[in-house]
Symmetry: C2
Subunit: 506 residues, 2 copies
């Protein structure tokens, strides 16, 4: 390579940096507009807001698919630095995803999913799968079109191309053996957990009315204790909790209920896990692709690490119990407010139909079923009209439950109607990685869990920052997990964790 071509390559990279920064700034704007929509916006503004968000999406897409982008990406040379090289790699990957799908297909998908989401709201309420079927057929058809287009452009299978949108580099071939192992272990694990639970004292429920401002104060305190930087984020209220916002402005939400002081708190801790990841992304790569969070599996690993590994642990409850009593006027001697009772309350196992209400032990069963269904549907190995029966059969296999109506079965989630195929497995991959990270972190620093018992979350965060957060999108999920723990994502730590917490097996 001669000097001139190196210069051309560097200039192309510099131009790309500017363009992606602009897309990053638009993404930040959309993050705040989206947050506002769900927290602040008056009802009458929904149409105007949809137009604003759509206009920004189009502008961003136009920047990504500008006619000279292909050339620039082909010519670009990153500086000799691992993050810069990864940045260029991510630019190419994001561009490949965006450029693979012709704009008429993007539009067709957008129309189909909007219509299907509307139909789903009614179909779910009426538990009427047949009424959803035509709209869902269209969404599935367009999803398969997109999967095929991306598969060709990216050299992947159709399902892997969908998966890659949510979790770059993760492949069905990685997931299959992991999920197969879970599927074979889970029924026994659930039985054992239920048997063990029956030997314990039944937890005393917390009853009463729990002042919402007091819940909010405790939520803020807990966020700060976990390491959330209030100078670069907020906590607000929305119907469905989420973590959103923008760079240096990470906004989480929760929903308070007067008759429950634990749900909102656990929700805040979950979203704080997401937020700590966002707040810990590499500042030097702000607004660049490599500065973004790696993907949904790793994101979910951070929320579940905080919620499941940390907040539903006995040490955490030892620290939290007096705080809960102080916040809500619980008596020191009341059995309901004791740390071990509270711990039993937040680790109860109870197989049920609804995924989002599932406990830690039965949750993966819901994901395994959805993963089996969606991989078969995308591969064309199953007809959509056969979905309810297949879904219910597998729920029975794994959870021993008979789904009485589709509202409590395959109609419960918005993901498929909204076009989010390839998303479900990231929930359980996240749970698996969370356990793996917690084990590795404790190996590296045995003070982590004892510190949590004293309300000191700094040792945990000190491990997560360099091993996960600061890596941004500098490597694949698989490689980030391997670098952090010495092994690619695997079920070992997760099953150990479940057996230890729920089956008293060490």
């Amino acid at each position: 390579m001669n000097v001139t071509s190196a210069t051309v390559g560097q200039q192309a990279y510099a131009t790309l940096r500017q363009r992606f920064a602009r897309m990053g700034h638009i993404r930040n704007a959309m993050g705040i507009l989206g947050w506002d929509k769900d927290t602040m916006m008056p009802a009458g503004a929904s149409e105007s807001r949809a137009e604003s968000i759509a206009a920004l999406a189009v502008l961003s897409h136009d920047l990504m698919t500008a006619p000279d982008m292909g050339d620039l990406l082909a010519r670009a040379q990153a500086p000799d630095d691992a993050m810069a090289r990864a940045n260029l790699h991510e630019m190419r990957r994001q561009h490949a995803h965006a450029a693979a799908v012709p704009s008429d297909l993007v539009e067709a998908m957008s129309r189909a999913s909007s219509r299907c989401e509307m139909a789903w709201r009614t179909a779910r309420q009426d538990s009427d799968f047949a009424s959803l079927l035509p709209e869902l057929e269209t969404v599935l058809a367009r999803t398969r079109d997109i999967a095929a287009a991306k598969a060709q452009a990216l050299g992947l299978s159709p399902y892997d191309a969908l998966l890659d949108q949510y979790d770059a580099g993760t492949r069905q071939a990685d997931i299959d053996p992991v999920f197969a192992e879970l599927a074979s272990e889970l029924p026994d694990l659930i039985r054992t957990a239920l048997t063990h639970q029956a030997t314990l004292a039944a937890p005393v429920p917390l009853s009463g009315s729990f002042d919402v401002p007091a819940q909010a104060r405790l939520g803020h305190e807990t966020m700060r204790a976990l390491g959330f930087d209030m100078q670069r984020g907020r906590l607000d209220v929305s119907l469905h909790p989420f973590c959103g916002g923008a760079e240096d402005d990470v906004r989480i939400t929760t929903r308070y209920e007067e008759d429950d002081c634990i749900n909102a708190l656990m929700g805040i801790i979950h979203e704080t896990g997401h937020a700590l990841y966002e707040q810990g992304l590499p500042a030097a790569w702000r607004a660049q692709p490599v500065g973004e969070a790696r993907g949904m599996s790793l994101h979910e690993s951070q929320s579940l690490l905080m919620e499941m590994q940390v907040a539903r642990s006995q040490p955490f409850m030892d620290w939290m119990a007096p705080r809960l009593r102080a916040a809500f006027g619980g008596a020191d001697t009341d059995p309901a407010w004791q740390a071990d009772n509270l711990h039993r309350l937040v680790t109860r196992v109870r197989p049920g139909f609804i995924r989002v209400d599932a406990d830690e032990v039965t949750y993966p069963a819901h994901i395994l079923v959805r993963y089996e269904m969606e991989t078969a549907l995308i591969a064309g190995k199953m007809k959509l009209s056969d979905l309810p029966e297949a879904f219910n059969t597998r729920i029975h296999d794994l959870l021993g439950l008979n789904v009485p109506e589709d509202r409590l079965g395959c109609l419960q989630d918005i993901h498929w109607p909204s076009g989010a195929w390839g998303y479900f497995p990231t929930y359980t991959l996240g749970a698996i990685i969370a356990a793996q990270l917690r084990e590795a972190a404790e190996r590296s620093d045995p003070t982590i869990m004892p510190s949590i018992g004293k309300g000191d979350f700094a040792p945990l965060l000190a491990w997560l920052r360099p091993h996960i957060h600061a890596r941004g999108s500098g490597a694949s999920t698989r490689d980030i997990v391997r670098d952090a723990t010495g092994a690619v994502p695997n079920t070992g730590p997760y099953l150990r964790h479940l057996r230890q917490r729920y089956c008293a097996q060490v």
Copy 2:
């Protein structure tokens, strides 16, 4: 004209409509991001937010100055409809403003004003004009460059070109005679008002601590009574009150103080006037140039109509007094809480140095001085180093006050440091138009003020909607006022209003 050219012209207009709609959607996004910045945003996000807003401004400017815009605008033919023709006229005017200024001058101005605003904060605090002078010289020089560029492109004088940015179609030649008349009347009017005031019982001040949530409740109630649509807007808190947001999402702010229950309320009413204008803009022209508010004079006329003409009137206080007593536990028999005492409190005249604290009678003096100064500076007829002395001399002429330090004189406002030259006259034009509109509205419907005494603001709004709000930018400020009142903006109604309210001259 043959069929083909008509079709080409109609297609060009349709294309322009789409592009301006996109700019409108971006403007709405920027409105929400700006509101969020001042109400919700955590401090650490300011840099990231500035980048997002700047990115959207650049995208919008790029759309406006796209290479084919000149051709499209030249070729475009609007449908045969007054609003459509006005829409095309506004497209051309907005484009002419944007295209007149080369982008390096836009950047130079942006840099100069950012630096000057920073310097101003210190200079004002230290009352040190000399320290601001170099930065302000640069801002003035760049402002004059921009004025010259726009003057050439628009066929206007430099000052008119600046004025046209804030108030399309308003010219110095229209303002000069109006302001000259005010300048000659004002000293006597102020003296007479003070003499009259001395004959009245001194108002009893409201003292005590005024619950902030109660202030907010009363503010919301009052907004709703005035006609604010809460489904398409909000009231929040910010350091400096403003009206912002987006189409169908008009957001006003106020600042509450524990020791004063009137200031925040008057502020809310002022911003509600702005908001009613925005909420009443022609829905059919949403996101199009003709659907925007006409300009700053008319906007200020709407806020001052509500605050000065309505809320500081005796009928309004007759209605508000019992509401204030109920909100803050005032005794029915307490002289401080009586309607006429409250009315005297909100119409006190007291010449002072600070524009934003000025009463209705002395306020125009502050504007006249600034207008004289900025027209002379833009025309190159005055040196910036002579500003403090010239400013203080004219304040003395009009208000009889000796400005003791520049902090209380020419350093008090951010407008000039931030590059907003040509803005000041719109405040007093707004006050003049407000009086003129109120007179015309009462002529047309004599029940308007009596209804206000009963808390019914619908008759006033019913007159404002077609005469002002629904006209959008369908004509110039001058023509909208003439159509609504039978006369172009003139001091008659305004001086009559001041003499009647403050000098008891009918």
